[in-house]
């Protein structure tokens, strides 16, 4: 669960439903101003599992970009990026699928790593968020 605004009244939550091999992932955006919380928007992915929502240091229209990662297989992990538009409606801004997904977080910079497998070994491809264009841009991977 992640807050989408400063006072924590708008929140994201993701969870897994069911058990293998019939699992799925749901992502919901809801208003927690009053109990019970009021769902405002929801989406889902059949067959996905191990969801993780995390706030990033990236912003879209001045608000934090949410990253949802989930798996479709041992070597199939997807990351979806969400923001909010001016009316606080969720907007999916990017989706990437790789063998695995990771992050490098420095105080001044966050980099998304999507690992591909041209053969067997994992090969990292790194991306930074460009708020001006509203897109991910591939960048040189930082030394780790």
């Amino acid at each position: 669960m992640i807050s989408a605004n400063d006072d924590g009244t708008l929140r994201w939550a993701a969870w897994q439903l069911g058990a293998p091999p019939s699992q799925s992932v749901r992502l919901t955006f809801y208003d927690a101003t009053h109990a019970p919380a009021r769902p405002l928007w929801s989406t889902g992915w059949p067959d996905a599992y191990n969801p993780l929502v995390q706030a990033t240091s990236w912003t879209h229209a001045g608000r934090p970009v949410l990253a949802l990662t989930m798996q479709f297989g041992a070597a199939a992990q997807q990351v979806d990026l969400y923001g909010l538009d001016a009316a606080s409606h969720p907007v999916r801004m990017a989706e990437m699928l790789g063998a695995a997904v990771g992050w490098v977080v420095h105080p001044d910079r966050t980099v998304l790593i999507v690992y591909q497998t041209p053969v067997s070994a994992l090969v990292p491809h790194c991306f930074d968020w460009q708020d001006r264009t509203g897109q991910l841009a591939e960048v040189k991977c930082p030394a780790q």
Binding site: G73, Q116, S120, L122
Partner: protein, 132 residues
């Protein structure tokens, strides 16, 4: 979206990192099983091909005159092409490549051409199939 399982294609094997410690279970596959380098399993790819056959389907694969039966129990991210059809467990890859499983690693693994890919009935034993 792909409609059918192709009869031929390219395969490789899982990265070492999906079961870094052979004495411990590997990452969980799409069917909930833990990946094992020593099992006879496969992941289908890319995303457009994930649903052409159900999870649990047994596949009979031929390459280099060798044959192996594997269980499809996973989905893979692929390498951005439709040519790559499967990632095989180390054991299945080793048999088709004609090398000991202990020698299969990220440093040694390559791409295999699968000369034949076909489904085989449930209950078919997994593992190497004699071609003599």
């Amino acid at each position: 979206m792909a409609d059918d399982l192709p009869r031929t294609g390219i395969a490789s094997t899982y990265s070492d990192s999906f079961q870094p410690d052979p004495s411990k279970p590997g990452l969980r596959t799409a069917t909930g099983e833990h990946y094992s380098h020593l099992g006879f399993t496969a992941a289908i790819m890319p995303h457009a091909r994930w649903y052409v056959v159900p999870m649990g389907t047994l596949l009979r694969l031929k390459s280099n005159g060798r044959c192996v039966v594997v269980k499809l129990n996973d989905r893979g991210g692929g390498n951005g092409t439709m040519a790559r059809v499967l990632d095989l467990s180390h054991a299945a890859y080793a048999h088709l490549a004609g090398v000991p499983v202990s020698t299969v690693s990220d440093r040694s693994a390559g791409l295999l051409t699968l000369d034949d890919i076909e489904t085989t009935p449930a209950g078919t034993p997994l593992g190497p199939v004699s071609t003599t």
